[in-house]
């Protein structure tokens, strides 16, 4: 059995940033484990630009963005293993991994950072009726074929789902000479970034139909066509009279991402049923001591910039955990998604041991225009407002972030002797009901 101070699982943007920031914090014994043939994760197949606008204030492609971190990792001499799959993690941070050269590996880590990212939802998980021919791809799989293997998934394409990957692939396939006939979206809005709707669909005259879904797939060998229909806005069920057929040889599904937490579950980590990722605290530590997590394994992000930022928190705190085992108690505050908010990450804050500032990430449930995000802290009966921000537009497709200073949080609570105990304190983020406030 070999030992490392920190083992990072996954070398996508989350793993790379976490490793780099742990190193910067003073831990030198770090191992990154990557299952693919190179570092960088999915960024390597995202050859479009738009990465790093916030983090580097530069417009980079996916591989360029990854390279910046990969270089840092290599400069620092951080160890990594490629083509290596982690098979198991225990709550005692023992990792079983495997590769061709070394066979089965047993690695003991003082701290683990989970950065496995997410996977795509499939046709099966949304139960589209019809036949089961070749020519049905998840958007990310198609992206890998086009950008990394140099093969086209097909010529006449329909895309279901207007999330970012769906939009990006609409443009990518168009540029490669395919005919992208339409993008269908079940919801009345896109869950992708506005800039992608403009730059990937509108610029190429690809129609986007909201409130529409695929009702049937045709074809025995390859896809020969699909039926699609408008859905009832309320129950999301297709309206039969609106059903139409369209011929195509390829169907791309961009119907959502699921954090990949099979390993986390093996380690006994508590999973949030809304985010499908581990419950984490302000230091990105999971419910199992010494196991940290960041990036899409925790909750699905839209911008890699946020993944990097969040992962630095994980890396830094994993390093602190390794370097000083001092435990000092703190009150526990649970974050709560209030009115209009789907979830808040982190789920737990320890105000007395948190860093100077934390970023809360959250998603809203619907489109809200010109409304306030309110934050209160306190007991259920006695919440005190500590912060509010006005946002011109909030949409489920665009993750919201709020920075909070430690003093802001501490001000809202009575620091008493209840340290370490769950005092029932809650930090609630909600959208102010319209009309509640008239000033401004």
């Amino acid at each position: 059995m070999v030992g490392y101070d920190i083992v990072v699982i996954g070398s996508g943007p989350a793993g790379l940033a976490a490793a780099a920031s742990a190193y910067k914090e003073g831990v030198k014994s770090i191992l990154i484990i990557e299952r693919d043939r190179e570092l960088g994760g999915i960024l390597q197949q995202c050859i479009h630009n738009g990465f790093g606008l916030f983090y580097f204030t530069q417009d980079l492609t996916g591989p360029e963005y990854a390279t910046r971190f990969i270089e840092k990792v290599k400069e620092n001499g951080i160890s990594y293993k490629l083509n290596t799959m982690v098979l198991d993690i225990t709550s005692e941070r023992k990792i079983i991994a495997i590769n061709k050269e070394e066979g089965l590996l047993e690695i003991q880590a003082k701290a683990v950072i989970l950065a496995m990212g997410c996977r795509e939802r499939t046709r099966g998980s949304i139960n589209i009726s019809g036949t089961r021919p070749a020519g049905i791809f998840t958007a990310g799989m198609a992206q890998r074929f086009v950008n990394m293997e140099g093969y086209m998934p097909g010529k006449e394409v329909v895309i279901l789902g207007s999330g970012d990957i769906g939009l990006i692939m609409a443009r990518r396939l168009t540029l490669e000479g395919a005919n992208v006939k339409m993008v269908l979206e079940l919801l009345p809005y896109s869950s992708g970034l506005t800039r992608n709707i403009v730059q990937c669909l509108q610029d190429y005259n690809i129609p986007l139909y909201f409130n529409h879904t695929i009702t049937k797939i045709y074809g025995r060998d390859r896809v020969t066509g699909i039926s699609f229909a408008e859905v009832d806005i309320k129950d999301k069920r297709p309206i039969a009279e609106t059903e139409k057929e369209v011929a195509c040889d390829t169907l791309l599904l961009a119907v959502g991402l699921i954090p990949e937490n099979e390993l986390s579950k093996k380690a006994g980590i508590e999973i949030d049923p809304i985010t499908n990722g581990p419950v984490v605290n302000d230091r990105m530590e999971t419910s199992v001591e010494g196991i940290f997590a960041s990036g899409n394994v925790v909750h699905v992000h839209d911008l890699v910039d946020n993944v990097s930022k969040e992962s630095e928190v994980a890396g830094r705190n994993a390093a602190k955990y390794v370097l000083s085992h001092k435990k000092f108690p703190s009150i526990k505050v649970k974050t709560v998604a209030g009115h209009g908010v789907l979830y808040v990450v982190p789920q737990i804050i320890h105000p007395q041991k948190m860093e100077e500032e934390i970023t809360l990430y959250l998603r809203v449930k619907d489109i809200f225009k010109d409304q306030r995000l309110m934050i209160t802290i306190g007991t259920e009966q006695n919440p005190k407002p500590i912060h509010s921000i006005k946002r011109l537009i909030m949409a489920p497709g665009e993750m919201q972030s709020i920075n909070l200073k430690r003093e802001q949080i501490l001000k809202g609570i009575h620091v008493n002797d209840a340290a370490g105990i769950d005092t029932g304190l809650k930090l609630t983020v909600y959208i102010e009901a319209k009309g509640e406030r008239k000033d401004e």
Binding site: I96, G103, T131
Partner: protein, 492 residues
């Protein structure tokens, strides 16, 4: 000249092939698809029934009970995972309890052992997640679960090892009955891959057995496709059923069941709908709704978002209401094994034996081989080995150190073996059915590109010639615009 040509590479045809491979006979199997197990055998409930369903005196009743008993040995010889998990038929009212008693009596008449009626409490002990509405159940310990792909492929592999020839993409286009003279008879079968002469034909063509029979001129029978739709769930839902959970049967079949699969998933279904088109394996919104509603009645707590996939299979329902296993009355030398609907999978070991006996009665001389080898080596399942064995295996063959399918932990070594072994995989579905790569929760999202690559490499074909399931089911189109550079010698 073959002694016997078997038409159909499903579980029935393959089991008959294996049975005949015990004797000094020249036998071949003609399969119209590119692989084994592509029709009814691939999409069913995957259950080895106890045998209380069929009417006493029918072939179904007799062969079910016989087949069930034979399963332990067959699966042991072929190294096919098989578990006798037992089954319960759940009653939700006192009237249905009366139906259970009828089934119980029938089971006794059919010769089913270890059968009893359990009360609500006993049922809950067996099935902690059963609906609170369930009042009693018929419990049989001998029912089991098996993977029909593994069983069919294993059976065929073993038949092949014992000398049976297999031909794929070999749809029988025409059958000529050669002139009978001097008491001899025979057939000429024409396919795309060649012509075959044979003394006997076994018609195990599944749903198409009636059409094959028509081509040969046998006494007419007809088969109705009866569609059954299913949903399969993530392994984390597998705990919800310990036994095969049935409801009280209706005229159309055994109703909606909830069952664990041999690989640990949860299976619900099927619907039962008579259709016309023998190729219509489409799933429908109504069908899926029907099985969800039906399954929730037995086990209310499965999570729909944990669906891995849905699929439909077609049962071949004979107009005679019983298996058609007999020598044709019009055409000498033609033997049918048709209309093998439920409990067909259970019955096949007994069906194979019966078909061999019929062939003997029809004059086929079956002389036992001394060197028949009943055992088959399974494809190594890396994830099921002990760490020590895993270590040793990777040292011997590093391909076992590369995990290709992360959901099911399938290594490159396993996939290469699945392609290279006799009657090996030729397409994505073939790899999936032999190794489970792509059968997990991400449905090939991760391993798909890698499996395509391995298939292309091992079969020495370009990537875009790899198919999902033979024919023209190409997984990919041509190359991208820029990759033309590679063909000119790559980047300099």
């Amino acid at each position: 000249m073959y002694d016997v040509v078997i038409i159909g590479g499903g579980i029935t045809g393959c089991s008959i092939a294996r049975e005949l491979s015990r004797y000094h006979l020249k036998v071949c199997v003609l399969e119209k698809e590119a692989d084994l197990c592509c029709g009814t055998s691939k999409a069913n409930s995957a259950i080895v029934h106890a045998g209380y369903d069929a009417k006493p005196g029918t072939l179904k009743a007799k062969l079910n009970v016989e087949g069930n008993v034979m399963y332990s040995r067959v699966c042991k010889e072929l190294a096919v995972p098989f578990k006798r998990v037992g089954s319960v038929v759940v009653a939700f009212s006192e009237e249905e309890v009366a139906d259970l008693k009828v089934l119980y009596e029938r089971g006794l008449k059919n010769g089913v052992s270890e059968i009893s009626i359990v009360n609500q409490e006993e049922l809950r002990a067996l099935e902690p997640n059963i609906s609170t509405q369930a009042v009693a159940a018929l419990y049989t310990k001998t029912a089991g679960i098996v993977c029909p792909f593994t069983l069919t492929i294993a059976t065929a592999e073993n038949a092949y090892t014992n000398g049976v020839n297999f031909f794929f993409n070999a749809e029988v286009k025409e059958v000529r009955v050669l002139a009978a003279h001097n008491g001899r008879f025979g057939f000429l079968l024409k396919t795309r891959v060649g012509s075959f002469e044979s003394k006997y034909i076994v018609n195990a063509a599944g749903l198409y057995a009636d059409l094959i029979n028509q081509k040969i001129g046998g006494e007419p029978f007809s088969l109705i496709p009866r569609k059954g739709e299913y949903c399969i769930f993530d392994k984390d839902q597998g705990y919800l059923a310990k036994t095969v959970i049935f409801q009280v049967p209706t005229k159309m079949g055994k109703g909606i069941l909830v069952s664990p699969t041999i690989d640990g998933n949860l299976l619900i279904g099927p619907t039962a709908q008579n259709i016309e088109d023998k190729q219509d394996t489409t799933t429908t919104e109504q069908g899926i709704q029907e099985i969800i509603t039906g399954a929730k009645k037995s086990v209310p707590s499965f999570a729909m978002q944990k669906t891995i996939t849905s699929f439909a299979g077609l049962r071949s329902v004979p107009n005679t209401e019983d298996f058609i296993i007999s020598a044709d009355k019009r055409v000498k030398g033609l033997v049918h094994a048709a209309g093998i609907e439920s409990p067909g999978l259970t019955s096949v070991p007994a069906i194979a034996k019966m078909v061999r006996e019929i062939l003997e009665e029809e004059g086929l001389r079956c002389k036992r081989k001394r060197n028949f080898h009943p055992y088959r080596q399974p494809i190594i399942r890396f994830s099921e080995l002990s760490p020590e064995k895993q270590r040793r295996l990777v040292r011997q063959n590093p391909n076992y150190g590369r995990v290709i399918c992360r959901c099911e932990t399938i290594t490159e070594g396993e996939i290469i073996e699945a392609i290279q072994r006799p009657l090996g995989a030729r397409d994505l579905d073939g790899v999936k059915r032999r190794t489970r790569a792509g059968m997990g929760r991400c449905q090939g999202g991760f391993c798909g590109p890698r499996v395509i690559e391995i298939l292309a490499r091992e079969l020495k074909i370009p990537l875009n010639q790899v198919t999902k399931c033979g024919r023209a089911s190409y997984a990919l189109d041509g190359k991208t615009k820029d990759s033309g550079l590679e063909e000119k010698g790559g980047w300099q």
